[in-house]
Subunit: 213 residues, 2 copies
Amino acid sequence: MKLYTYYRSSAAYRVRIAMNLKGIEYDSQAVSLLDKVHKSAPYLQANPQGLVPALELDDGSVVGQSTAILEYLEETHCNTPLLPADPAHRAQVRSLANTIACDIHPLNNLRIQHYLRDELGADKSQVDQWYARWIHTGFGSIEKELGQGNGSFCFDDAPGMADCYLIPQVYNAIRFNVDIDQYAAILSVYNHCNTLEAFQRAHPDQQADCPSS
Amino acid sequence: MKLYTYYRSSAAYRVRIAMNLKGIEYDSQAVSLLDKVHKSAPYLQANPQGLVPALELDDGSVVGQSTAILEYLEETHCNTPLLPADPAHRAQVRSLANTIACDIHPLNNLRIQHYLRDELGADKSQVDQWYARWIHTGFGSIEKELGQGNGSFCFDDAPGMADCYLIPQVYNAIRFNVDIDQYAAILSVYNHCNTLEAFQRAHPDQQADCPSS
């Protein structure tokens, strides 16, 4: 399988973590969002959605959207499950993941920041406030849910699907200087997951397309 | 099961369609977003995320996030599957659904419109342009994918998970006067699904909390 990725894309970061946790070997093809390679004709041919990540399967078909990719990996590589067995527990994990995937990340990605700045005339402070608002709104409810956990992972005692979403989102919050000190349970999970090799290898700084690597 | 719903919430609309397609009986409890009931203490007690929809299971636990709810229903009510059997096809359907759930809907919901207006000083025309931009960006890629289909449903020849997302999103686009005449494949699926009773009963106008009903 080939993963179209970009080192700083937090949706790609989710998939890299899941691939590593499941021990799936894959080829990486970097798609620079900064250089707008995701809008180039060859990439749009492969993935008409024009976004990263996308996963090219062995039959040549391409799956876009990180959540669809993660569910696909879960269904086809069952040895290391990232969802618990009980449907109600699975729903709880997916709900956490979707709070990030739907209620935080889409509001803060690069194209939105550009729109706010270029088309609505927002200044840097207004863009920063926008960014922080959706982090705080989402993290507020996630913190309550994680507060009932053991501080190591989002659910139970093994890394799972919600951790694949949370760790990249915390990384983003830190990168954009959002003060998240109040979220003790979230930070505990973040710090614990980052002691694991699967998360470390998926980190933006460890990617071949990271300028400093 | 009890569904916390709001007639115009397009995420709740998705769940209502799925419940109807699967023939699941449920109680509805209306949560008025207009009256900010979703931010009231009793509702936050039930669903700390403070959003609709949420599904209260028979054991009293509450699942938030429409995507988590739909996956839960798919896993627990298998008689009328909303996802195809083949993992690559399932990924294709989920990718379509997530384009709406992540790349269109979160950018256009009420809290975002309020933020643009109240905190960034956007006027009505700017909010309308914002709204239309994300519809067109998402519908552009969805139209390409649906153009390869049969014009009745998003995937194959039965209503499925992607239709649960698409029909409410088209309803929203029409309600906000976005010109979507160019999306022939999307409109074909929209019109066909709306001939089915499961979609008709889930429509905002048919809900008990709809002011005109």
